[in-house]
């Protein structure tokens, strides 16, 4: 509980400093820029790398079906979240194609699939949203449901989740 003010202050600071910096994306598409309110590709010193490459997880990337499977997974994932009353408010008016593309890039990069993640760090990317622990867990749950639908082996699911779970420190901000 006592960490809240500190996190809030950090998130505000980051959001403010990010807003003043220029945006850049590797695969910037016209429709992805339809909501230009959020800047991209800013990395703050001291904030953990959002897509740490795990060379030992190449096999997991194969289990996900490579980048084709990852892209298909994100379609399912977004659909599950939009059907989830807990998460729908976070995504229904968001730029869904961009979120799906960046998530696919991020997961691909983590699993040593050779992608470069073009998005912001996890703190900056979520700073404009009020996310609590239940929201974070709801997202994990929906990702699990989507991975089950894609028939991704359970132990491979967990190897990815084990990398993503510690990001709760940057993502949760209330």
């Amino acid at each position: 509980m006592h960490k809240y003010p500190i996190r809030l202050a950090l998130a505000t600071l980051l959001a403010a400093s990010c807003a003043s910096l220029h945006a850049q994306t590797m695969h910037a598409e016209p429709e992805a820029m339809a909501t230009p309110t959020v800047p991209t590709a800013v990395r703050e010193p001291g904030v953990p790398e959002p897509a740490p490459v795990h060379p030992d997880l190449s096999g997991v990337f194969t289990d996900f079906g490579g980048m084709t499977g990852m892209t298909a997974l994100m379609d399912d994932f977004m659909q599950v979240m939009l059907e989830d009353p807990r998460l729908k408010p976070f995504f229904e008016h968001a730029d869904q194609p961009r979120i799906k593309r960046q998530l696919a890039e991020q997961f691909c990069a983590i699993l040593n699939g050779g992608c470069a993640y073009s998005g912001r760090d996890m703190k900056a990317a979520h700073a404009a949203l009020a996310i609590d622990r239940a929201d974070f867990n709801a997202l994990v749950e929906d990702l699990q449901i989507a991975m089950e639908r894609r028939k991704i082996p359970f132990s491979s699911q967990n190897k990815l989740l084990a990398v993503l779970a510690p990001m709760h420190r940057e993502v949760i901000n209330r």
């Binding site: 609590d132 622990r133 709801a138 359970f154 779970a165």
Partner: protein, 311 residues
């Protein structure tokens, strides 16, 4: 008097927990009706925030954990911003005895867990042999408190540090006269424990270790302290669970116990279990359990089955 009060309190707690759980379930059903449901069984449910099964099941004395052993997790699906809770019923059926345990717990802000439970130990034929009467049942109430000290068993996957909690279980056995006759020193007692629990997600593995300071004979069913030993002794408990799917875990537990009574040798207990959560608010645990010798009957092993509903 004390028995009546304890029993009333338990029933009240159970009724409250069930009412809350069913209200939560109804609210979730209602909200589910409003959304588009392609595969209802796979839909996320409710606002309760912890991940499936990460609140554990309920151990025999009413704390969140495995079947025999408390874990450091706080029971129920409440996150640090929420309140969770559940109710359970467990039956242990071993050769010559049967024990039922039922109760409820509340998890407050993923920090504090309060639990109340009743254990009923049916002596079946042994009761007749000992002159107590066939089916003589020894009853005990257990009041539990657990507080999380530090760590997070589930989310801190880049750290080896487990979640660590301390807890107490205050037990009041109803059969004071009988317990005195078999050599037990007290008809009530308090266990103190320290638990460390960690999910090693990348290995699909959950490990728990608990150290318990206790005087209890057979969980307290045979009282506290005895002619052979009276004081507190440290006992060790361990659980390992392998996650097969998101909804299914298999595992084993071991729990050492004191051996305080001259007339009734006491052995360690172990079990091998399957825990299944078909829905987020329901879990079913089935185990093979071995309690060893229990009062004039050796080699007591059999089935453990536990149902838990919660939110």
């Amino acid at each position: 008097m004390q028995t009546t009060n304890g029993s009333t309190l338990l029933r009240l707690a159970l009724a409250m927990a069930c009412a809350i759980a069913s209200a939560a379930a109804q609210a979730q059903d209602a909200s589910a009706l409003n959304g588009v449901q392609e595969e209802p069984a796979e839909q996320p449910t409710g606002s309760s925030g912890k991940l499936l099964l990460t609140g554990g099941v309920t151990q025999v004395e009413g704390a969140a954990g495995g079947g025999l052993t408390p874990w450091a997790v706080i029971g129920g699906y409440g996150t640090r911003d929420q309140i969770g809770g559940n109710a359970f019923f467990t039956r242990v059926d071993v050769g010559d005895y049967r024990m039922d345990s039922y109760g409820a717990l509340v998890g407050l802000y993923d920090r504090v867990e309060l639990s109340v439970s009743r254990q009923e130990f049916d002596t079946q034929q042994v009761g007749a042999l000992l002159g107590l009467g066939r089916g003589f049942t020894i009853k005990q109430d257990t009041y539990g408190l657990k507080v999380k000290l530090f760590g997070d068993a589930v989310l801190e996957q880049d750290s080896w540090v487990p979640q660590v909690s301390i807890g107490v279980q205050h037990k009041r056995n109803h059969e004071g006269a009988l317990l005195a006759a078999i050599g037990a020193r007290h008809d009530s007692g308090t266990d103190y424990y320290l638990s460390a629990t960690k999910l090693y997600l990348g290995r699909n593995l959950l490990l728990n270790a608990t150290v318990r300071f206790t005087q209890a004979n057979q969980f307290g069913i045979l009282g506290f302290g005895g002619d052979r030993h009276e004081g507190y002794r440290a006992q060790f408990e361990a659980s390992a669970a392998y996650l097969v799917t998101r909804k299914l875990a298999i595992g084993a537990e071991y729990r050492t116990k004191p051996d305080n009574l001259g007339i009734a040798a006491e052995d360690d207990a172990f079990d091998v279990f399957i825990a299944w959560a078909p829905l987020k608010h329901v879990s079913l645990t089935v185990a093979y359990v071995d309690l060893g010798n229990v009062v004039i009957r050796d080699n007591q092993h059999g089935v453990y089955a536990s149902l838990q509903v919660g939110f």
